[in-house]
C-alpha cells in the first residue's frame, strides 16, 4: 500500500543509478539514520557499551569482508589479523603524531591494513576457494604472532598492551576513559555511515562490477578485459582497509585499551565470516544484519533471559548461547542460504504487493 514504486518514473540515468532508486527506501534510510542518531540518548549505558558500540565497530569489518567474500568470492579467515593491523597502526600514529586529530588517524590506519592485506592477498592469484581460505589462516596467525613479538608496536609497554590515550575533537574528549559513551557512539556512527556510503558507491560502479564478475566466472571476467590480478588485489586492499578502520574503532572507541594481540584472534575472524554468511553475502544491509546477529544475540540471550525471569547462571548461559548460535546458524542456512538480507528482500517484496497479494 505504502511501499510502491508505481508512479516513480526515472527521467535520467543518474536517478535510475541511484543506490536507493525507490523513494520509500530513501525515506526508510533517513528514518533509520535519524533513529540511530537519537538512539544513544534513549538506551542505557549497558546497551550502548555492550551492544551498540561493538556492533558499529565490527559492522565496518563485516562490510570489509563482505567486499572480499561476498562481492569478489574470496574467502578470508584473516580479518581479525587485518583489524589488528589497523589498531596498532592507529596507536603508533597517534602516539607519534599526537597533534593530528585521532579521527584522521583512525581513517589513515586503514591504509596500513590495506598494504598488509595486499601482501597476504598475493596467493589469491594462484589459489581459490577453500584453499585460499586456509592460506589466509597464515596471515591470521602470523599477524597475531607479530603483534606480540614486535614491542615497537606497543611502544615497549611492559604490559604489552595498547592504552588508548585521551584525544579530543573541538575540546571534547572522544577517545580515552573520560570520553562520553554517546560521543564515542556518534563518532563510530559517523564512520559507519561514511564507510558504508563509500562501499556501496564502489560496489555499484565499475570496480564493483569487476569484482562480481571475478566472483561469478573469473575466466569470462578476464575475457571482458578485467585484470584478475588487479581486481583481486584491489578487493583485498579495500577489504583490509575496512577491517583496519574497524580494528582502530574497536580498540579506540569500544574497548578503550586491551591486550590487542589476543583480542584479534582467530575466533574473531570466524565471527566476522559468520556475520557475512548469516547476513547475506554480497549485501550491504546483510552485513548489518549479520553483525547484529553475532554481537547482540549472545548478549541478549545471556542477560535478557535472567531479566525476564529465566534463571540460568552465566556459565550455563554461555554454553547455551554457543549451542543456540550453532543451531540457529544451521537453521538459517537451511531456511535461507542467502542470509538474512534475502529474508529482508522477501519481506519487502511482500510489502510491495501488500495488502493485495494477487
Amino acid at each position: 500500500m505504502f511501499y510502491r514504486e508505481t508512479g516513480q518514473f526515472k527521467t535520467n540515468y543518474a536517478d535510475d543509478m541511484a543506490i536507493f532508486p525507490i523513494r520509500q527506501d530513501r525515506i526508510g534510510i533517513a528514518i533509520i539514520i535519524a533513529i540511530a542518531l537519537i538512539l544513544p540518548f534513549m538506551v542505557s549505558d549497558f546497551v550502548l557499551k555492550t551492544i551498540l558500540l561493538p556492533f558499529l565497530a565490527l559492522s565496518v569489518a563485516v562490510i570489509g569482508l563482505n567486499i572480499l567474500t561476498g562481492y569478489t568470492g574470496l574467502i578470508s579467515l584473516g580479518s581479525a589479523g587485518f583489524m589488528g593491523v589497523g589498531a596498532y597502526a592507529c596507536y603508533k600514529l597517534t602516539t607519534l603524531f599526537p597533534e593530528v586529530n585521532i579521527i584522521i588517524w583512525i581513517f589513515a590506519s586503514g591504509f596500513f591494513a590495506a598494504a598488509v592485506g595486499v601482501f597476504f592477498g598475493l596467493p589469491s592469484l594462484r589459489i581459490k576457494g577453500l584453499y585460499l581460505a586456509v592460506a589466509t589462516l597464515a596471515a591470521q596467525f602470523f599477524l597475531q604472532w607479530a603483534f606480540v613479538r614486535i614491542p615497537w608496536l606497543f611502544n615497549y609497554n611492559p604490559s604489552g598492551a595498547i592504552e588508548v590515550p585521551l584525544r579530543t575533537l573541538f575540546g571534547m574528549p572522544i577517545t580515552g576513559p573520560t570520553a562520553e559513551l554517546e560521543v564515542k557512539y556518534l563518532i563510530c556512527l559517523g564512520f559507519v555511515i561514511g564507510m558504508t556510503w563509500l562501499a556501496s558507491n564502489l560496489v555499484h560502479g565499475r570496480i564493483g562490477r569487476s569484482w562480481m564478475a571475478v566472483r561469478d566466472m573469473d575466466i569470462a571476467a578476464e575475457l571482458m578485459g578485467i585484470k584478475l590480478l588487479n581486481a583481486k588485489l584491489m578487493a583485498f586492499a579495500v577489504s583490509s582497509f575496512f577491517c583496519g578502520v574497524s580494528g582502530a574503532l574497536f580498540v579506540f572507541l569500544y574497548l578503550g585499551g586491551a591486550e590487542a594481540g589476543t583480542e584479534f584472534a582467530i575466533r574473531l575472524s570466524f565471527l566476522i565470516l559468520f556475520a557475512v554468511i548469516i547476513g547475506g553475502t554480497g549485501s550491504m544491509i546483510g552485513s548489518f544484519f549479520g553483525t547484529a546477529f553475532i554481537v547482540a544475540l549472545p548478549t541478549i540471550l545471556k542477560f535478557g533471559a535472567p531479566a525476564i525471569g529465566i534463571a540460568i547462571t552465566g556459565a550455563t548461559a554461555e554454553k547455551i548461547v554457543l549451542m543456540i548460535i550453532g543451531a540457529l546458524t544451521i537453521y538459517l542456512l537451511i531456511v535461507e542460504p542467502h542470509g538474512l538480507a534475502r529474508l529482508w528482500q522477501i519481506m519487502k517484496q511482500k510489502l510491495r504487493v501488500w495488502p493485495f497479494p494477487y
Binding site: 535520467n12 540515468y13 543518474a14 543509478m17 563509500l198 558507491n201 564502489l202 555499484h204 560502479g205 565499475r206 570496480i207 562490477r209 569487476s210 562480481m212 564478475a213 566472483r215 561469478d216 566466472m217 575466466i219 569470462a220 571476467a221 578476464e222 575475457l223 571482458m224 578485459g225 578485467i226 585484470k227 584478475l228 584491489m234 554480497g282
Partner: protein, 241 residues
C-alpha cells in the same frame, strides 16, 4: 559462439581486408593433439563461422585466439602484427571478445551489470572517484550506460534489465551474452566469428565457413561451397575413416 573485433575506423584496416589470420597453428595437451596445422583468416566486417562436429577443436581454436592457450606451433597475426604470447585480458583490450559454447554470464549480476561489464575496458576513472560515485565517475557511468541501453534496445531485453541473469531462461541468457560481447565493441558492423554445431544456423548467417574435424581443417569457403564438400558431408554423417 561469436567473436567480435573492432571496426575499420579505429584500426586502419579497410572493410574486406584481413583482420586476423591463423597460420599453421598446432596445439597439444600432453600427447593429445587438439589442433593440427590449421590456417584461415578473418576479414574485416564479415561473419566468419567455425564449425565442426563435437571435439573438432573449435573451442580450442578460439582459446588460442583469445590467449587462453598458447599454440606450440604456428602463429596468429592480428591487425597485421604477429602476436607473441598474449594474456586473455590483453587480447580483450586489443579488441577480441567472445562468448562461450556454454553460457558464461556472471550469474549473480543483473542483465544491466553483465552488459556494463563488457564496457570495463573503456572505463578509466580511478578508485578515488569510484569511491565517491560523483564527478568523472558518474559522468563515465552515465555515458556507458547510454551505450548499453542502445544494446539493450537492439536486443529487446529492456524488461529484464534488473533481473539477475541466473534466473533467466537459456534463450534470454544467450541474448544477454551477445549483448555483453557487443558491449565490448559497441559497433554493429563488426566482424563476427561464429562457432556452432548447428549447420543450419551457420549457413544462413555467415559469409565464409571454416570446417574443422579432429583438429584439422577439412574445408574453407562460402557456405554453398562447404555444403557441397564431400569431406564435410562425411564428417557430419559420421563416415568412418
Amino acid at each position: 559462439m561469436l567473436h567480435v573485433s573492432p571496426n575499420a575506423a579505429t584500426t586502419g584496416i579497410a572493410k574486406g581486408e584481413v583482420l586476423l589470420s591463423v597460420e599453421n597453428v598446432s596445439l597439444r595437451f600432453g600427447g593429445v593433439k587438439a589442433i593440427s596445422d590449421v590456417s584461415f583468416d578473418i576479414r574485416k566486417g564479415e561473419v566468419r563461422a567455425i564449425i565442426g562436429p563435437n571435439g573438432a577443436g573449435k573451442t580450442s581454436m578460439l582459446n588460442c585466439i583469445n590467449g587462453f592457450y598458447f599454440p606450440q606451433e604456428g602463429h596468429i597475426t592480428y591487425k597485421g602484427v604477429r602476436r607473441q604470447k598474449v594474456r586473455p585480458h590483453e587480447a580483450a583490450s586489443s579488441g577480441i571478445a567472445r562468448t562461450f559454447q556454454n553460457v558464461a554470464l556472471f550469474k549473480g549480476m543483473t542483465t544491466l551489470d553483465n552488459i556494463m561489464t563488457g564496457r570495463t575496458l573503456k572505463m578509466h576513472t580511478g578508485l578515488f572517484w569510484q569511491l565517491l560515485r560523483h564527478g568523472p565517475a558518474m559522468r563515465e557511468e552515465i555515458e556507458h550506460r547510454r551505450k548499453v541501453e542502445d544494446i539493450i534496445d537492439f536486443l529487446e531485453i529492456q524488461a529484464i534489465r534488473k533481473i539477475p541473469v541466473g534466473k533467466l531462461p537459456y534463450g534470454l541468457q544467450k541474448r544477454v551474452e551477445l549483448g555483453r560481447a557487443l558491449a565490448v565493441n559497441q559497433t554493429f558492423g563488426t566482424t563476427i566469428a561464429l562457432i556452432e554445431h548447428d549447420m543450419g544456423v551457420v549457413m544462413d548467417l555467415s559469409d565464409r565457413v571454416v570446417v574443422l574435424e579432429y583438429g584439422r581443417k577439412i574445408a574453407d569457403g562460402t557456405p554453398d561451397v562447404v555444403k557441397a564438400d564431400q569431406k564435410v558431408i562425411d564428417a557430419y554423417l559420421g563416415v568412418a575413416h
